[in-house]
Symmetry: C2
Subunit: 365 residues, 2 copies
C-alpha cells in the first residue's frame, strides 16, 4: 500500500491517456475531480490485489458514454458517489475497494475521486490494461465474471440497476439509456470478490500508467526527449511519423467512429497511415497494410509536446508519431482475441501480433 497524492494523479492521468489508445476519455475532467476529492478528503491508498481479503467486495466505478460527450458534458462527481452508494445498497454489503474498469485518460483517474471521497483503497489493477469501446470487453469477462448488477446514475438524478443475462447485454441496455441521458453517466459494475480480482484483473496497471506518465513528464522537465523516454518505458514500436491530413468523426450511439489519415514525414515521406477508431484506435495501416491490430495498443502522440491524442481531439495539420504497444497477455489468448480482436469489430483481417507485423521494421521513423 502507498498513498496517491495529486502530484501522482498528474502522472497517472498522462500514462492512462497513453494506455487509452485514443479512447478512454480526455483526462482533464477526471484529473479535476480526482484532485478536488484528494484535496478535500485526503490521499488515496493504492493497494496491490494481493492485499485484498479473498471475500472483500470490489467494484468498478467508471464514466460511461461517448468520449466526445464526456468532454463536453461535465460531471459533478456526485454521479460516481451515487453509483457507488447504489451498489452498496443493492448488494447490502460495504464496498472494500475500487478497481478501475479500464486504463484510459478519464477512467484511469475518475476512480481516485470516488476512492478519496468514500475512503476506500483503490486496487492497482484494471479490467483491460488499456481502454476498449465496450463494457463487456474486459479480462473480467474472460474469467466469467458478470458485469451485473450494474448501477447507473446521471447528473439529473436518475438511478438504475441492471441485472443482465450476460456482459454484452450490459453494454446494450446501459448504452441505450446512456444515450437518452444525454450521452454520459456514471456506472458501478463488475462487483467481485478479492479472490476474483487476484485472478481476473490486469495487475499493476496504475503503477504502469504512472511510469509511462513519468517518462513523458519528467523527460520534458529535464529537457530530454519525452517520446524516446516513453518508447523505452513502454517497449513501444515506433510505427509512423507524419502529419494529420484528414479525419472523419461521427458520434454514433455512444461511440466516436472515424478514420484518421496521416501523411508521412521524414523516413515515411512517401507513405500514408490510416488509423480506424471506435472510441479507441483499432487498426493502423501503413500504405494499406496492417501494422497494428486490436487488442494491441495504437497510440497517437503529438510530436511537438509528447501529449497522447484522443480520437475526438485529432486536429488537421498536427505533427504526430504513432506508437504500437503489446496488449496484455490475457488479450492474446484465443478467447481474448475473440472478445477484443479485429473480427469483433467487423474486420476481415486476422489478429497478428504487433511484433510479427513489424519484425522487419522495428526502427521505422
Amino acid at each position: 500500500m502507498r498513498k496517491i497524492s495529486t502530484k501522482d494523479i498528474e502522472y497517472i492521468a498522462m500514462g492512462s491517456t497513453v494506455l487509452g489508445t485514443g479512447g478512454g476519455g480526455d483526462p482533464y475532467i477526471g484529473k479535476l475531480l480526482a484532485n478536488e476529492a484528494i484535496n478535500k478528503y485526503g490521499d488515496v491508498s493504492l493497494i496491490d490485489a494481493k492485499e485484498l481479503k479473498d471475500d472483500a467486495l470490489v467494484v468498478s466505478i467508471a464514466a460511461f458514454g461517448a468520449p466526445m460527450i464526456l468532454v463536453e458534458k461535465l460531471f459533478s462527481g456526485e454521479e460516481f458517489k451515487r453509483a457507488f452508494d447504489m451498489m452498496e445498497a443493492y448488494l447490502g454489503k460495504k464496498i472494500e475497494a475500487i478497481i478501475p474498469a479500464e486504463a484510459g485518460g478519464l477512467n484511469g483517474v475518475i476512480p481516485f475521486a470516488v476512492a478519496a471521497r468514500k475512503k476506500v483503497p483503490l486496487v492497482d489493477a484494471d479490467g483491460m490494461g488499456r481502454a476498449f469501446p465496450r463494457l463487456e470487453m474486459t479480462t473480467f469477462t474472460l474469467h466469467g465474471i458478470p458485469v451485473s448488477p450494474i448501477t447507473q446514475a446521471d447528473e439529473k438524478g436518475n438511478k438504475n440497476v441492471y441485472h443482465t443475462i450476460d456482459n454484452t447485454w450490459g453494454e446494450t441496455l446501459v448504452g441505450a439509456t446512456t444515450i437518452q441521458m444525454g450521452g454520459s453517466c456514471a456506472i458501478g459494475c463488475y462487483p467481485m470478490s478479492g479472490a476474483q480480482v487476484k485472478i481476473a484483473a490486469v495487475h499493476g496497471i496504475v503503477t504502469y500508467a504512472e511510469t509511462l506518465g513519468k517518462a513523458i513528464i519528467d523527460a520534458k522537465a529535464k529537457n530530454q526527449n519525452p517520446i524516446d523516454s516513453l518508447i523505452e518505458k513502454a517497449a513501444a514500436i515506433k510505427l509512423f511519423t507524419g502529419k494529420i491530413s484528414n479525419v472523419t468523426l461521427k458520434t454514433e450511439g455512444r461511440w466516436n467512429k472515424g478514420v484518421c489519415e496521416i501523411s508521412g514525414l521524414e523516413k515515411n515521406i512517401d507513405s500514408q497511415m490510416t488509423l480506424d477508431f471506435q472510441n479507441e484506435f483499432l487498426m493502423a495501416k501503413k500504405d494499406g497494410k496492417p501494422v497494428a491490430i486490436t487488442p494491441d495498443l495504437i497510440v497517437l502522440i503529438d510530436a511537438e509536446n509528447a501529449q497522447p491524442i484522443t480520437a475526438e481531439s485529432i486536429q488537421y495539420g498536427t505533427r504526430v508519431i504513432v506508437l504500437g504497444m503489446k496488449a496484455n497477455a490475457q488479450w492474446r489468448t484465443p478467447e481474448g482475441i475473440e472478445l477484443g480482436g479485429p473480427k469483433k469489430f467487423g474486420y476481415q483481417e486476422n489478429y497478428i501480433t504487433i511484433e510479427e507485423l513489424n519484425k522487419n521494421n522495428r526502427d521505422v521513423l
Copy 2:
C-alpha cells in the same frame, strides 16, 4: 369483492379493447395468459379500491412495448411474475394487490394472469380509464405519484430496476431498453399505497370494461345489434360509417404511428375521415375538421362483427364504424389536458370536448 373466472375474462378483454382506443395491444395473448393462469391457480378476486387497507402496497404490472411487436413476440408469462417478484424484493415488502396501468386489450387482462399466479386481488380501477401511448400518461401522474421504482423483465432473463427523477424519464429510459430487448417487456411500476389508489385511480374500470364487452358479446349471442348495444352502454357518439381506404403505419421506437383513412358510406357517402394514431387514436377529423380529440376516446369498430380494431391490425377495405367516447373527468381538467391532450402530441388544435364538437351531429351515420 367478487371472483373473476375465464368467462368474465372474455368480456373484460373485449371491453378493454374498446377502451384501448386503437392501442393497448391485441387482447389475444393477454386472454391466453390470463385464462391459463386462472385455470391453473384459480379465479381472481376483483376488489373495489375501498376494500384496500390504506397502507397496502399496490403495484401496476403491464406489458410494455410497441403494440405491433406485442402481437408478434410472445410472452411466456414468466416476465410478469419476475417484474412482480423484483418489485417485492426491491421494496422489501409484499404486494397486496395489483392495479392495471391501463384499460387496453392486452394490459386490461395481463394483470389477471399475474394476480392469479401470485394469489393477490386485482383492484377494479386503472391509471387511465383508457389506453395511452406513454407510461407517464396516467391519473397517477396527475396526482403526483411516482412511476418509479420501475422493474423490468424480458423473456431472455434481463431484469432491471429504474429510479427516475420523474415519470417522463421513466418512459424515456424504459422505452430505450425495451427497444433493445426486441420491442417488448414486462414492467412493474407505480408502487403506491391503498390510500393513494383510492384518490388517484380511475375507479370501476374493470367492471366498466366487462359491461362494454357484455354489450357486444351478449347482443351478438341474442342476434341483437351489438354496435347499438355498445353505443348505449358507453354513451358513445357515432362519428362515422365508412370503409378503410388507406392506412400508413410505421413502428417508430416503441410506437406504431400512422394515419387511417376512411371513405364514407351511407349518410357519410360524400365524406372522408382520418384517424391519426400513435399506438392509440389521437385525433379524428371529418373532412379535415376535428370531431374527436385526445384524451377523449376514438374507437374503431368492424361493422361486420362489432370487433374493436387496434391500429396495427387495420386492413384496407374493412367496413367500419367510428365511435367517440368521453374521457374520464380527470383527463378533462387543465392538468389532464396538458398531460394527455392534443398539444402533448404536437397538434396545433386545442382540446374541445367530443360533446361540443358533435353538438349538432349527434346522430351522424
